[in-house]
């Protein structure tokens, strides 16, 4: 504090005080200059020390050298690369240099990936030197001796929290008029700068090339070089092109490497160039400007598949569609169709073909309707996934009733062909086409529960992309489902391989009723879980009404009054089931969850499975536990199979327990937006899905195949890092 009289005195004599200040200042500057002290070239700030490094001890005309800005950081604190990643900002430098001395831009050595929970920053820990090229022009002269090099430096230093800092650094060097005979160099500073110059990204050698292709998820970066690096990391220079935190799975090639990059969800437009730094395990880093190539140069099948390209997904969907024909829920339908084919094998060829196409059309249109409904509901903000229909008790009731009625017909209570449609010859052809169409529709309806386990990935991919992609994939799925019958229609020669029509057909038809009724039992079980036991009464009453209607059809086939009565009974059945669901049904997720856990508790000793919530997942990981999440639903048969046969197996169960992994069960029997979102984050839209989230929150979850084996589960557990290290702090703490 300046005492008041003195202050007044100073105010009275401003000239004197200014003079005094100038003298003091000049003395200080002279002292520092004569000592050539670099004291001002270093500043200590919170969590770091920052220094200006200028290796030459003299400055002279025509000289070029590399200066450096050196940050020494406390452990776990970091400063940032030129693209800081998801948060943070790079350091800045603003030079004040004598005339004739110019500084180039600050150069950034290759950074490290610094994960922070779900985010990813790019920067440096411990120490970093940013090299800066300096040029002394030929007209530099020693008039102002010594030369003062100063810079205003700003930075953001972060660990868990961020602290901005700034400092004015300056140092002096004697100015010479010509290069000295033996220039003197600060060797320590020079070697320190050189160490980080070695980490600067280099231009790609002329013989090498970098290209990229686009995929629905992002990009495949393709580096061709004369070596085969095992891994690589890409640091994008543009901040809104690549999703920073996404893992970059590498695919080594004989002469290079491919990296799968995930695009920024909000990317604006399509980049024509990917600019960034590619760092190889050898430490070599290349500055690349990869150009877009349409020919992805796909050297292997595995990468495009892992990329989940549209073509691969469509192919997968097509193959899956063919497989669906063999599923227990679809095969009976196909079988009905096959019978029709045998019956019609005397018909002319073009009629057969037309039937095949109508059947295909039935499948296509019903798939399109389902996708359209799904997309519309999604656009309206509902969190839905594949199999969402099974979360609706009314849909379940109608499905169960449809299959029950079909089962009655197959078992011989009545004839579908005779009683439901006219036996008149003129209508036969029309009936045939309508029959083909609705057989297609029926195939889709009953195929839905079977699609989830096998088509999970393809459908998840389709639903997470543009409507066009969704429709393409579902169309491929539909064509796959239709193709076996379509082929039979086109090659009637193959149809002749089928046995001749006869009494065996009737027996087989009745036998097929058995799997149909089994499916009904399953649907009723699911319905009970979703809608409750009270609503079950209504559904069973509806079954009774269906049986009565079936009796009318079978007893008086083709007569008008019984058919009308039967139709009334049918409507009564539908109304009964819908009404009971709405009045008696009590869909409560809690109740369902407890039912499911009751069921599972029968086999697992004290159930280790906790209900899934995002908070429970985050909490377990925060406490250093890896988490195994079983995404399941009671309407998902393959989920139950996996749980009973694999997860509940004594050895698997023990291993799960011993591994210290937290077990969460995400029950999707009823709608749950949290679970839908968690599935979406895994790139899936249906169950079953099994995911292992490592304890390290930055590590990506591992998704297991939809069809589990004990080996798959045990291997996945084995591949986890040791749980006991959880007490250690995470290694790179940003």
């Amino acid at each position: 504090m300046i005492a008041e009289p003195q202050m007044r005195a100073r105010l009275r004599t401003p000239l004197f005080s200014s003079l005094l200040l100038a003298v003091v200042c000049a003395a200080l500057c002279a002292a520092s200059a004569s000592a050539q002290s670099d004291a001002h070239a270093t500043a200590s700030a919170q969590h770091l020390t920052v220094s200006l490094l200028v290796p030459p001890r003299q400055l002279y005309p025509g000289q070029t050298f590399t200066a450096g800005l050196d940050f020494r950081l406390e452990p776990h604190w970091h400063v940032y690369w030129t693209n800081a990643g998801d948060s943070g900002e790079p350091p800045t430098i603003d030079w004040k240099l004598p005339p004739s001395i110019t500084a180039g831009p600050m150069q950034f050595p290759a950074p490290a990936r610094l994960p922070l929970g779900p985010l990813m920053d790019f920067g440096y820990e411990n120490e970093v030197v940013f090299p800066i090229p300096i040029q002394v022009a030929s007209d530099f002269h020693s008039a102002r001796n010594p030369a003062v090099l100063s810079a205003h430096v700003g930075w953001l230093v972060c660990s868990a929290v961020c602290i901005p800092g700034k400092a004015d650094l300056s140092l002096t060097r004697p100015a010479l008029n010509a290069a000295p005979a033996a220039p003197s160099i600060d060797a320590d500073a020079q070697s320190l700068i050189a160490r980080f110059q070695n980490k600067l990204p280099q231009p790609l050698p002329a013989a090498d090339s970098a290209t990229f292709s686009t995929t629905p998820q992002g990009f495949v970066l393709d580096l061709r070089t004369n070596s085969s690096p095992s891994s690589a990391q890409f640091f994008p220079l543009d901040s809104t092109v690549v999703a920073n935190a996404a893992p970059q799975p590498a695919h080594p090639l004989r002469n290079g490497i491919q990296l799968a990059l995930t695009k920024d969800e909000n990317i604006q437009g399509k980049p024509h160039q990917l600019n960034g730094v590619l760092e190889l395990p050898s430490g070599a880093a290349y500055l690349i400007h990869a150009t877009l190539t349409t020919a992805a140069g796909a050297p292997s099948l595995s990468l495009p598949l892992r990329q989940g390209g549209l073509a691969a997904s469509a192919l997968l969907a097509f193959l899956g569609g063919i497989l669906l024909n063999l599923m227990p829920c679809v095969f009976p339908v196909l079988f009905i169709k096959g019978l029709a084919l045998v019956q019609s094998s005397q018909q002319e060829r073009h009629r057969l073909r037309a039937h095949g196409w109508v059947y295909t059309l039935g499948i296509l249109i019903s798939f399109w309707i389902v996708v359209a409904v799904l997309l519309i509901l999604r656009a309206a903000g509902r969190q839905l996934g594949w199999g969402f229909q099974f979360q609706s008790p009314i849909f379940l009731a109608l499905m169960a009733m449809l299959l029950f009625f079909l089962g009655l017909a197959l078992a011989g209570q009545f004839e579908i062909g005779l009683s439901l449609t006219s036996a008149g010859g003129s209508l036969a052809q029309k009936h045939g086409y309508a029959g083909s169409f609705f057989t297609g529709v029926l195939a889709v309806i009953v195929a839905t529960p079977c699609t989830a386990p096998f088509m999970g990935a393809a459908i998840g991919y389709a639903l997470s992309h543009s409507p066009l992609v969704s429709f393409t994939v579902f169309t491929a799925l539909a064509l796959g489902l239709a193709i076996p019958y379509l082929l039979l229609a086109y090659f009637p020669g193959w149809a002749r391989l089928l046995p001749k029509p006869g009494a065996w057909m009737e027996i087989l038809k009745q036998a097929v009723a058995v799997p149909i009724f089994a499916t009904v039992i399953w649907l009723v079980w699911v319905f009970t879980q979703v809608a409750g036991a009270a609503a079950l009464m209504g559904l069973l009453a509806a079954f009774l009404l269906l049986a009565i209607a079936g009796w009318f059809f079978g007893r008086w086939p083709g007569r008008a009054i019984p058919r009308l009565a039967a139709a009334f009974v049918l409507i009564a059945a539908i109304v009964t089931s819908v009404w009971t669901v709405n009045t008696l049904g009590e869909p409560s997720p809690a109740q369902t969850a407890s039912l499911v856990s009751d069921v599972t508790q029968g086999k697992i000793a004290p159930s280790a499975w906790q209900p899934f919530t995002p908070a429970a997942l985050a909490d377990a990981r925060t406490h250093g536990h890896a988490v195994f999440v079983d995404f399941t639903a009671s309407w998902c048969l393959s989920c139950q199979v996996n749980e009973r046969l694999i997860l509940d197996r004594a050895d698997v169960e023990r291993k799960l327990h011993d591994s210290g992994v937290t077990l969460l069960r995400a029950d999707w029997t009823n709608q749950d937006p949290d679970i839908t979102r968690a599935l979406a984050a895994l790139g899936r839209s249906g169950v079953p899905t099994y995911a292992i989230y490592p304890a390290d929150p930055s590590a990506p979850p591992q998704v297991l195949p939809t069809v589990l084996t004990p080996g798959i589960v045990l291997d996945a557990l084995k591949s986890l890092p040791q749980q006991n290290t959880a007490s250690n702090p995470p290694s790179s703490t940003p």
């Binding site: 998801d86 948060s87 943070g88 900002e89 922070l116 929970g117 779900p118 985010l119 920053d121 700003g154 953001l156 972060c158 868990a160 929290v161 961020c162 901005p164 998820q217 809104t240 999703a243 935190a245 996404a246 799975p249 995930t262 969800e265 909000n266 604006q268 595995s302 598949l305 892992r306 989940g308 691969a312 997968l316 193959l319 063919i322 497989l323 063999l326 309206a380 903000g381 386990p453 096998f454 088509m455 990935a457 393809a458 991919y461 995002p614 985050a618 909490d619 925060t622 979102r677 979406a680 984050a681 895994l682 790139g683 929150p697 990506p700 998704v703 195949p705 939809t706 069809v707 940003p734």
Partner: protein, 205 residues
């Protein structure tokens, strides 16, 4: 039946290995959420259907956030737009024990001291809303139109610094997006990289 059944799951599993990020995409529907504010009031995004909604991620210990509060810039923006019927929800996604985590009463005291004027400040210590919107930094701004569509996401302005002196010559993207949207203009800048401190989610230390 068995051979393709065996191979397909393998292919499917390979395909499933890609991890699709679930981020809010500009131009798509804003995901609905429910949160509790500092007065115990519940807010659901869908209840504000028909109104513009601004989401502002905050952390009062973050120097980037403080740049906008200590200069009065954020409060001015809040007052300007809430007076025109915009719903302004400040969201605190810092986990307990992390920088920026606030109890309801602390946050109320802070807002009173700073004369902050959002519609409400929502406490999100589990980070659920933050993760839902993939909020990366404080500040991180989201503008939602009356139809519930995200029309802007990203930085508050074009000067990613902690220096309040930059504010007068910064282009404020939130201000621009709201003005353009209300004038029926297309949004010139709909997505930017947000700048600031990382959101202090649980497990992110």
């Amino acid at each position: 039946m068995t051979h393709p059944r065996r191979t397909l799951p393998v292919l499917a599993a390979v395909l499933a290995c890609t991890l699709a990020a679930f981020a809010v995409r500009v131009g798509t529907q804003a995901p609905n959420f429910t949160g509790t504010d500092t007065h115990g009031q519940t807010h659901t995004l869908s209840q504000y259907h028909g109104q513009y909604v601004v989401l502002e991620w905050t952390n009062n210990g973050c120097p980037f956030t403080r740049k906008h509060y200590e200069s009065g810039n954020m409060q001015a923006l809040q007052k300007k737009w809430t007076s025109r019927g915009v719903i302004w929800l400040t969201i605190l996604s810092s986990a307990p024990g992390q920088q920026g985590y606030m109890t309801a009463s602390d946050e109320n005291a802070y807002m009173a001291r700073e004369h902050a004027a959002p519609t409400a400040a929502i406490l999100d210590p589990t980070g659920a809303i933050g993760h839902l919107y993939d909020a990366k930094t404080t500040p991180d701004m989201v503008v939602i139109d009356p139809n519930g569509k995200v029309i802007y996401e990203g930085a508050i302005d074009d000067h990613p610094t902690t220096d309040p002196a930059d504010i007068p010559h910064s282009k404020n993207y939130v201000d621009a997006a709201l003005s353009e949207a209300m004038d029926g203009q297309p949004i010139a800048v709909a997505y930017t990289r947000s700048y600031g401190c990382s959101v202090k989610y649980a497990g992110a230390e």
